[in-house]
Assembly symmetry: C2
Homo-oligomer: 250 residues x 2
């Protein structure tokens, strides 16, 4: 039986220190890496920006919809993300995981309406050859805007169908989708189940908020989990920790 | 009138010191950058590996056809190329060129027969948004082989039609295709014109040799020049220095 294919998102805030710009949370990264190294799955890893990407993006006024044509600004945001990516790739390789970097600036673009086009063949081929592609939030060319931000959540949504993922996991700083009372919701079958708790969102909001994550994962058609760092090992072992997002048509 | 679109290859040996591993030839790079900064063309820049990529590839036994599945070896080759790429991008930005890095590992793959698939939409979009994409020889996933080397010459051949290039220039350490007497051949219309001088080559040899370059450029259908570093400014100004490879069907 071939191993299952899993797309794993490591939230930027999970692996970086929130309060110190451009600082890897080494202990948290090592715990995540140790869990990944135990897994038999064919893995695609995506990570967010955490304290690396966000302040550069803010400084240059760049979001997923508002871009820049300043090459130095674009490079500063990209470089910060690449630096974090390098830390993740090297930690994974040191733990025996065949990680290799994949950078969205080289592989993705947006059209005028903001729709994402991601070249997934390199990721699929790396996966087939036994590597673990490690992607990250980045800046990408955007028609009419220069470059805009591509979020890790957008990457997950684009990659899962391309690699025919069996499961998707979003490892976040919270242990799942929380209800009004602050308890983890076990399962979400439709956005209406949690709309009151997570707030409103339109279908294109996949830039980091919980509402956008839930909407995007519901539309994926692949079982997804949202869970906290302590549950990463359980998720990779095949369990369903945190909140199950049922997927399939709403 | 919109500016012409030009794919420019800077040979690895043009911008690195041949006899010192992983050393940029800063003076040569600065001269090339100064010429590029004068150009009004919409430019895609490709550079080879020179003293950066080649010894790592040799050390790990990796070529365009023989691969590796060793993630540390793959990353070592990739890193060496990225380091050179970064030097080129930063020198261009410092001269006012809107350069951004594009890394083939993230954008390209080979099938079992070695045929290259390169995602060119990110390059096209960056170009349309006013940036100068700067690509480099790299390692890429190769079906059944792990990762193999992708040469700068292969990139030129794949990119020129994708960006609808008006002209292609290969800036090499030699001033053009040389005949038996060591003189620059003015124009090549068919491989037979220079076969005696450049040696034999099959159509898939685009890994750096002059015979392979001539064959590949002849098949492109876009006018191409092979010239030395001193002629870069003239080429970018619209002249036809060195050897003209006529292109079009043989």
């Amino acid at each position: 039986m071939s191993p299952e294919t899993v797309v794993l998102k490591l939230g930027g805030s999970v692996v970086t220190e929130k309060d110190r710009p451009e600082t890897v949370d080494t202990a948290a990264l090592q715990r995540a890496v140790a869990a990944v190294a135990e897994s038999d799955a064919a893995l695609v890893v995506v990570h967010g920006g955490g304290s690396f990407g966000h302040h550069h993006a803010d400084e240059h006024g760049v979001s997923t919809t508002t871009g820049t044509r300043d090459p130095e600004g674009a490079l500063a945001i990209h470089d910060a993300m690449v630096e974090l990516n390098r830390a993740v790739v090297e930690a994974l390789q040191a733990a025996g995981v065949a990680a290799l970097p994949v950078q969205p600036l080289s592989a993705a673009a947006r059209d005028e309406g903001g729709a994402l086009s991601l070249a997934t063949e390199p990721v699929e081929r790396l996966l087939d050859e036994g590597f673990v592609p490690v992607l990250h939030g980045d800046v990408i060319a955007h028609e009419g805007e220069g470059v805009t931000v591509l979020s890790g959540d957008e990457l997950v949504v684009a990659l899962a169908p391309a690699v025919d993922a069996d499961r998707v996991g979003l490892c976040s700083t919270v242990p799942g989708v929380l209800d009004d009372a602050g308890s983890v919701v076990d399962r979400v079958d439709a956005f209406a189940d949690v709309a009151d708790a997570v707030g409103d969102s339109d279908a294109t909001d996949v830039t980091g908020g919980m509402a956008g994550k839930v909407r995007a994962l519901l539309a994926l058609g692949v079982p997804a989990q949202i869970f906290g760092p302590d549950a990463l090992g359980a998720f990779l072992a095949g369990e369903a920790p945190g909140t199950t997002i049922a997927g399939g048509p709403e």
